[in-house]
């Protein structure tokens, strides 16, 4: 979870979280999306068969498997979820 207490009074913590949400949260989301895209590409190349792409598991896929196991569940959710037009890269930054 993002946010929470960091040795501040509850009111100050709330104000800090509000300002973080106002100013920086879209930076965080954008960074997370960028990282997820790179990670998806890497996993697709090495472990594409996990989401139905017929890739012969090469030697290196098995070598990295222990390291990527924690990310596989969330990666599969990201890749297989239906997305629509509203989910553009600027949606989080747009204002009304």
């Amino acid at each position: 979870m993002v946010g929470g207490e960091r040795g501040l009074t509850p009111t100050m913590s709330r104000v800090k979280d509000f300002i973080y949400g106002l100013l920086f949260y879209d930076f965080t989301l954008y960074a997370l999306r960028t990282r997820a895209s790179i990670e998806s590409l890497f996993l697709l190349v090495t472990l594409g068969d996990l989401i139905g792409l017929p890739i012969m598991p090469p030697y290196y896929s098995l070598r990295i498997l222990p390291y990527v196991v924690p990310n596989i569940a969330t990666w599969k959710r990201r890749m297989l979820r239906e997305k629509d037009l509203l989910e553009t890269d600027v949606m989080g930054m747009m204002s009304g």
């Binding site: 979870m1 979280d17 949400g21 106002l22 100013l23 979820r81 629509d84 890269d89 204002s95």
Partner: protein, 595 residues
């Protein structure tokens, strides 16, 4: 009337509406449950579905809904009908319609596995309702780009502004470089980029700078012997009394400047330009508006003459001239969209925030809280134009905020220049993202049939060409009201979906159905009035005249858009009625309604 009373009215609306109505609906009808797993927890993917604290989401949602919309709508409506109708619609609209849509759409998406609003429309109403929603969205983007393009190009003719806006673009490029390439601390990046931009904005009103910009504009106009390229009658010009708009070379130049600014935002990587420009712009806007709000609050005690409203409370029932119509109903309700209710919020609430709620109970402070806060921003804009006493629109807003800032000892001349620059910054930062969004929408819609549209430069140039076409019709108010029409139809659709969702779950849907019916009928009426105004005010006077071809074509295009919006609204209304009847008959037969 004065600023203190207006602030008290705004704050009281927030408190009473939130505590006695919103909370009651949350407890009695929606029954939000902190023990229910939210999509953020169930489908956590570390990116879009990821729980965040309610305070962060409140800030994020507020930033996403409150920017240029509530300011432009309030100042335009105050100029047309006076401050009282605008204030009444803001407080009644947010209390009975605005928060209902934002909060309920968020809860609907939360309870339906984090589906986007278009996916919910597909499942709950009909497959074509999703397509219609996306058409509304594209027209929303086209019209907002036209309205904002018109507004910014006009404001940039003021010689105090262009230098600051040019600096904003450079500060954005510098900020992206410092933050992502040189990996510098965000605090240092903020101080350097925001400080530089503020410094250059402060140079704008200096005589030598103003003189240079004026000479530059005069040089541009001399290219066409100082004659307008097109001179057209705008029934809403000259303080809404009607007057001639002269589109000169300098205006086209600054419109092209806006296009270049937006082109960079739409084609460069987000981290390189769009994001840092937004960030720097947000600081300028926040500092100016916060200072303005504080000034407005203390003006009553320190300089009461600056706190009194000068603008008439009520002007006329129908502000139309020369055969055009501007009746209070239905036009006020599309002129002020954001601040009272806006369909854009439903998109943000479903695609963005609903997927990050940690608990269902967070939806009320995040969704409803942000909407009520946005109303306060609109009230601030309304106060600024009401105390200004001179000018209309952006100029009056800047003069009013300049007055508020003068409470702290700032020269009103500099205060007004800062406020006008902040206003242009708010609008232009949204504009660049709108063009980027339009480019993506065009690629999605036409990319398969016309592969060339997949090229980001082609998509962006096409979007900018559409923007130019609607701007050169020259009538900001009609553009703005048509944009409001598209926006409010999205809001009606969102409320329609909420109503159907509540019916499908056998809950009392009246609190959403009544506002939906009001917004639906009002917006259809407003779009028909705008189509008539465009015909009488823009197209008919220009028919057969030399140099008017583009104005007439743009006017006809806007009439077509207005009628298309009405037609699509009728389609979606029919589909929703069919869906409602189906649900009711299934419920009567004891069959569970489809999810």
């Amino acid at each position: 009337m004065n600023t203190l009373i207006a602030l008290i009215v705004g704050a009281a609306t927030f408190y009473l509406g939130y505590s006695f109505y919103a909370k009651r609906i949350d407890e009695k009808i929606i029954k939000s449950d902190p023990k229910k797993a939210t999509p953020a927890k169930m489908y956590m993917d570390g990116v879009d579905f990821s729980p965040a604290s309610r305070n962060i989401l409140y800030g994020y949602q507020f930033k996403s809904v409150a920017a240029a919309g509530p300011i432009v709508g309030a100042i335009t409506a105050a100029g047309l009908w006076g401050w009282l109708p605008a204030l009444l619609w803001l407080i009644l609209g947010v209390t009975f319609v605005g928060w209902v849509q934002d909060y309920s759409a968020m809860m609907m998406a939360t309870r339906r596995d984090g589906d986007s609003i278009s996916a919910i429309a597909y499942k709950l109403v009909s497959p074509r309702s999703r397509t219609i929603l996306l058409i509304f969205l594209f027209l929303y983007l086209l019209l907002i780009s036209g309205a904002f393009g018109n507004l910014i190009a006009g404001a940039l003719l003021n010689p105090t502004i262009p230098l600051g806006i040019t600096m904003l673009a450079l500060a954005g490029l510098l900020g992206g470089q410092m933050l992502y390439r040189w990996k510098m601390d965000i605090a240092i990046v903020t101080i350097v980029t925001v400080g530089l931009t503020l410094l250059v904005i402060a140079l704008g009103p200096v005589e030598a700078v103003q003189g240079a910009v004026k000479a530059f504009n005069a040089g541009l106009d001399a290219l066409n012997a100082n004659q307008p390229i097109v001179s057209l009658f705008d029934p809403t010009a000259a303080a809404y009394a009607g007057g001639f708009i002269n589109i000169k070379v300098s205006y086209v130049f600054w419109l092209t400047f806006v296009a270049v600014f937006s082109y960079l935002g739409a084609t460069l990587p987000v981290w390189r330009y769009a994001q840092p420009v937004n960030y720097v712009g947000f600081w300028i806007m926040a500092l100016t508006l916060l200072g303005g709000a504080l000034g407005a609050a203390v003006a009553f005690f320190v300089k009461p003459e600056l706190a009194n409203f000068v603008l008439p409370a009520f002007k006329v029932w129908d502000a139309g001239v020369k055969g055009t119509l501007q009746p209070l109903w239905p036009m006020l309700f599309v002129t002020i969209a954001c601040g009272a209710i806006s369909g854009w919020h439903a998109l943000v609430s479903t695609v963005g925030t609903a997927r990050q709620l940690e608990n269902e109970t967070d939806a009320l402070p995040v969704g409803a809280g942000s909407m009520f806060s946005e109303m306060l921003l609109a009230v601030l804009a309304l106060m600024a134009v009401s105390v200004a006493g001179k000018g209309v629109g952006a100029a009056a807003f800047a003069a009013g905020v300049g007055n508020f800032l003068s409470i702290f000892g700032l020269d009103p001349k500099y205060g007004s220049a800062l406020a006008l620059a902040a206003f242009v910054i708010i609008v232009i930062t949204v504009m660049q993202l709108v063009i980027r969004f339009m480019r993506v929408a065009l690629t999605e819609a036409l990319g398969d049939a016309m592969p060339i549209m997949r090229n980001p430069h082609v998509g962006t140039i096409t979007s900018l060409a559409c923007m130019f076409l609607v701007v050169l019709t020259g009538t900001f108010v009609y553009l703005w009201q048509l944009f409001g029409g598209a926006n409010q139809l999205m809001a009606s659709l969102a409320l329609m979906l909420v109503t159907l969702w509540l019916v499908s779950e056998r809950r009392n849907a009246l609190y959403a159905a009544l506002p939906m019916l009001f917004m639906y009928v009002t917006t259809i009426g407003a779009n028909l009035v705008t189509a008539w105004n465009l015909w009488v005010g823009v197209v008919r006077p220009g028919l057969g005249k030399a140099n008017y071809e583009i104005v007439v074509f743009g006017g006809l295009l806007m009439i077509a858009i207005a009628l298309l919006l009405v037609l699509l609204a009728l389609f979606i209304g029919w589909d929703a009625w069919q869906s409602y009847s189906r649900m009711k008959s299934q419920q009567r037969a004891g069959v569970e309604a489809p999810a």
